[in-house]
Amino acid sequence: MTGNPDQRRRHFLRGLGGSMLLPLLGCDRGNFSAKAAGARVAIVGGGFGGTTCAKYLRHYAPDIEITLIAPQPTYLTCPTSNGVLAGLRELSSLTQNYDALRGRYDVRLIHDEVTAIDASRRTLRLGLARPIKYDRLVVAPGIAFRWGEIEGLDEAASLRLPHAWQAGSQTELLRAQLMSMADGGVVAISIPAAPFRCPPGPYERASMVAWYLSRHKPASKILLLDANEQFSKQALFLQAWKDLYPGLIDWVPISQDGAVRRVDAATRTLYTELDEHRVAVANVIPPQRAAAIAVASGLADSSGWCPVHARNFESTLVPGIHVIGDAAKAGPMPRSASAANSQAKVCALAIATELSNQAPPEPSLHNTCYSLVAPDYAISISGIYNVVNDEVTAIAGAGGTSPLDADRQFRRMEATYAEGWYASIVADSFG
C-alpha cells in the first residue's frame, strides 16, 4: 500500500469493518509510528483490561505487533453474572469472543497458559505454544483466590460452597443450588475482607438472590456474613432492601461477628468467631490477591497486589512490565471492568507514546458501575481520577453514588442504563 501515513491511517479506519489488516501498512512509516514500528507488545489476559489495551494500542500505534494471550477462546464476563443467579439472563449471554480483535484489529491471539515471565530476556513461556519475545509487556491476569486463608476453604470445598466470583461453571453451580433448595432455607453469602474484585458485587448478588427467593421461595432468608464494617453503596442498598425485600436480608458486619473463619463443606456450616451457621446454600467468596502469574513474576508486593506507576501503569517492581485491571493497585480505583477498561486506555497510550519517544498526555481515569437491586431498580457509583505524584487520585467533588432520595423513576432509568452500560463496555472492550 502506498501513500503517506495519514492516508494509510484513514484507509485503516475505513477498513476497520472489513479485511484491511495492519501488515499492509508497513512501507513508508510516519513520525509517530516510525519509531514504534515493529515493536512487539504482548498482553497477558483476555478480560476487559487485556482486550481494551490491545484494541486501543492498535488505534494509537497501527504499525506495532500486538499479541494477546488469553486462556480460552471465549470469555465469560463477571459483570451482570448476578442476573444469571436471579434467572434474569442465561450464562451464555455473557459469553464474549476475540473475533473482532483478531479480524478487525490485527491482534494475534494465542489461547494458552502463561507459565513464566522471563523479564531479563523479555520472553513469555507458555504451556503449549512456543515462547514469545516482547519489547513491552502488559499483564492483566485478574485475581486469584487465597485458598486456605479461611480454614477448610479450598478449591474442592468450592464445589459445595461455590464462590461464583469468576463467571462460568461456578455461576451455574450456585444457580442450581438456589433452584434446588427448599423454601424456608437460609442462603449465606460470605464476604471477604476488602480489597476484592467488584466491591459492590456481593451486595448486588444478595439483591438478585433476594429477588429470586421473594418470588419462588418466599419463606427463605439471606444471611450476609461480612468481614468488613462498611460497604460500597451501603446506604442505597440498605434502603432498597428495606423497601423491596423487607426482613429477607440480614447483614452481619465484622463488628457483630460477621467474619467467617472456618467452613465445613460437607455440612455447609460456616463458623465465625463465636457462632456457627448451618445453611442450605453457602456462597463463600474467598479472600483474593493478584493472579498467580503476577505473583510468580515478582509483580506483587506483600499485599498480594501489584504496585504500579499511575502515569503509565508500569510496575514499580519490574521495569518494562505494565499491570492493569484487578491485579493492579490503583489507589482509590475499585477492581472493576470499568476501571480495567480505563486503565487499559491510559496504559495503551503511554506505551504507544513511549515507544515513539513522545511524552504521553496527562492520564485521565474513570469508573462507573451499576448494581441491579431488582430488574427495574438499579443504583450506580462513579469516580473520576487523575494522577498526582504518580498516584491515582480521586478528584474531589466528583463521582459518588446515586442520590439516596431519588424516586423510582430514577431507579428505573438506572436499571435501563445498567443494561446499556453492559452493551457498551462489551463493545468497547471486545467489539
Partner: protein, 98 residues
C-alpha cells in the same frame, strides 16, 4: 509529513474519520466516554449515543450536567470531575465525528 500523536489518536474511534483532532489530551479524556456510550460514542444499547453532535450541543449538555441545570442520572457526578477547559476539549473532540 509529520504525523502528530493527535493524528494517530484519531484512530481511537473506529467509526470516526476526522481530518484532525485538537490534541492528544482530548483523545485521552474522551476515550473514557466510550466505556459507557460505546466505541466512537455510538451506543449499541440503551445508553444515549453521543456521536454526530455539535460542539455547542455537547458543551451545553456537559456544562449543564456539571452545574446541575440539565436533568440526568450519573452525568452530573462525572462532569464535576472536569474543568471547563477539559469539557470544551471533550466536546470538540466528540464533535469531530460529525
Amino acid at each position: 509529513m509529520r504525523v502528530s500523536l493527535a493524528a494517530v489518536a484519531l484512530g481511537l474511534l473506529p467509526l470516526w474519520t476526522p481530518a484532525e483532532v485538537p490534541n492528544s489530551a482530548a483523545a485521552a479524556l474522551t476515550a473514557n466516554c466510550n466505556t459507557c456510550h460505546g466505541p466512537g460514542g455510538v451506543s449499541p444499547g440503551s445508553m444515549p449515543s453521543i456521536d454526530g453532535k455539535t460542539v455547542d450541543y455537547l458543551l451545553g449538555k456537559l456544562r449543564g450536567f456539571r452545574d446541575g441545570t440539565v436533568d440526568n442520572t450519573v452525568m452530573s457526578r462525572i462532569a464535576k470531575g472536569y474543568s471547563d477547559e477539559q469539557l470544551q476539549a471533550i466536546a470538540a473532540f466528540l464533535a469531530q465525528s460529525r
